[in-house]
Amino acid sequence: MAAQQQRLDAVANDLANANTTGYKHQRVGFRDLVYDQTGRSSAQGVRTGSGAAAVDAGRSFAQGSLQRTDRPLDVALQGEGFLRIRLPDGRDALTRDGGLHIDGAGNLTTSTGSFVQPAIKVPAGTAEDEIAIGADGTVTAAGRRIGRLEIVTVRSQAGLQSAGDNAFVTTATSGPAIAAPRATVLTQGALEASNTDMADAMVEMIESQRSYQLASKAITMADEMMGIANQVKR
């Protein structure tokens, strides 16, 4: 039951983020627990398992659909990869949320205020629609190159740790950030939608709820049997 509860939590989080730009849905796996010798009244070698546990199966990094916004500072990644950013707390992180902004000092930031890495400064007086972002991440303002958005990836995407605000930080299991494959391109004027599939999430929720119910039924049954055993001597 506890394992199913964790899965329900993950599905609920996916559904809540069905409209979050660049959100990647969570996956929960299950494993059975240790088997040991069944108690009295059974022969040697009869072993009973002790239930199930949920395991983190990482996130699904499947491509979300692109939504055209025609805002010059919106970029969407197509293919494997992330934008490199620096979180407000100073940590380096990765994100697929390409809704960029220009802050008061002219720095290019994400919608949550993290600076893109390496930092890109937009010259004062540049209008938003004078900024062009190429498929390889090159940023030009009024025809002049001012920097490049770096597209990176990691060896094991399942090992990335979610840092909130659509950002992921690398861990020992994910490996350090490396250059993304050439096939990954940026599209200006679009955003990547969440890859939560409503239908899948709903089916998973139903399955999870029923499994929960079945487990609770097993508890009721065990309880009734204890009750019967207690009634042996009235």
């Binding site: 039951m1 394992a3 199913q4 899965r7 996956r27 796996g29 299950f30 494993r31 059975d32 627990l33 240790v34 088997y35 069944t38 108690g39 009295r40 009244s41 059974s42 022969a43 070698g45 009869v46 072993r47 009973t48 398992g49 002790s50 239930g51 199930a52 395991v55 983190d56 199966a57 990482g58 699904s60 499947a62 990691v154 060896r155 094991s156 995407q157 399942a158 090992g159 020992a172 299991t173 994910s174 490996g175 494959p181 399955e207 999870s208 029923r210 499994s211 079945l214 487990a215 039924k217 097993a218 049954m221 065990a222 009734e224 049997m225 019967i228 055993a229 009634q231 042996v232 009235r234």
Partner: protein, 227 residues
């Protein structure tokens, strides 16, 4: 004391053990590649009853029941499409081999990932092996399903953590497909029916004990009373 009491009690204990197996099946109704268990019950050795006065044989009587064997149902479960590049399912017989700290273990749970070295690992982080017992390196985040080894096992025994131990017996005839997971082999409907069946048998055992208790009570209090 009357042997009937002990016979009925042994039946009740066996039903409780069966209930444990069923509850474990239900708890794993969502575990990918899980194989359900069946309990087989057997009666204890029978003894011959003889008439105490004449020595004439009355007939055999059982002395109770016990669970002698739990059999794991290894038949394939339905395969679920997930679309994830690193989910694998075996259609047909066989197991994936994984290198754990305790040695090579086997599993039907194909929910794999790639680790920092680029190797294909199980969801517990243990490297998955190919047909020749070597680790598999992913290219561009994918692995050709034909590269993953499928091993036939003799005497597979479940160990927990979705792992199975056993003696490898060459390559199995199962084929691996990617983007899919094998569902759990636990059938909730069947488990529920078995549970109800088991509970009623348990209840019947309790009634037998009560009936014998009443007869004993009569023997203890009413034999020899004059009123």
């Amino acid at each position: 004391m009357d042997r009937g009491l002990y016979i009925a009690a042994s039946g009740m204990l066996a039903e409780m053990a069966r209930q444990d197996l069923l509850a474990n099946d239900l708890a794993n109704a969502s575990t990918a590649g899980y194989k359900s268990d069946r309990a087989t019950q057997r009666s204890f050795a029978e003894v011959l009853l003889t008439n105490t006065q004449t020595g004439a044989v009355v007939g055999p009587v059982g002395t109770g029941a016990a669970i002698t064997r739990q059999a794991t149902d290894l038949s394939s479960a339905p395969i679920k499409e997930t679309g994830e590049p690193l989910d694998f399912a075996i259609t047909g017989d066989g197991f994936f081999a994984v290198q754990t700290a305790q040695g090579t273990r086997y599993t039907r749970n194909g929910q794999f990932a790639v680790d920092a070295q680029g190797r294909l690992v199980s969801n517990a982080g243990d490297p998955v092996l190919d047909a020749n017992g070597r680790t598999i390196t992913a290219t561009n985040g994918t692995v050709d399903p034909r590269r993953i080894g499928v091993v036939a096992l003799t005497n597979p025994v479940k160990q927990g953590d979705s792992l199975v131990t056993g003696t490898p017996a060459g390559a199995a005839n199962g084929t691996v497909r990617s983007g899919a997971l094998e569902g759990s082999g636990a059938d909730p409907a069947r488990s529920m029916v078995d549970m109800i069946d088991s509970m009623r048998a348990f209840e019947a055992g309790q009634k037998v004990i009560q009936a014998i208790d009443e007869t004993l009570g009569k023997a203890a209090t009413q034999v020899g009373s004059t009123s």
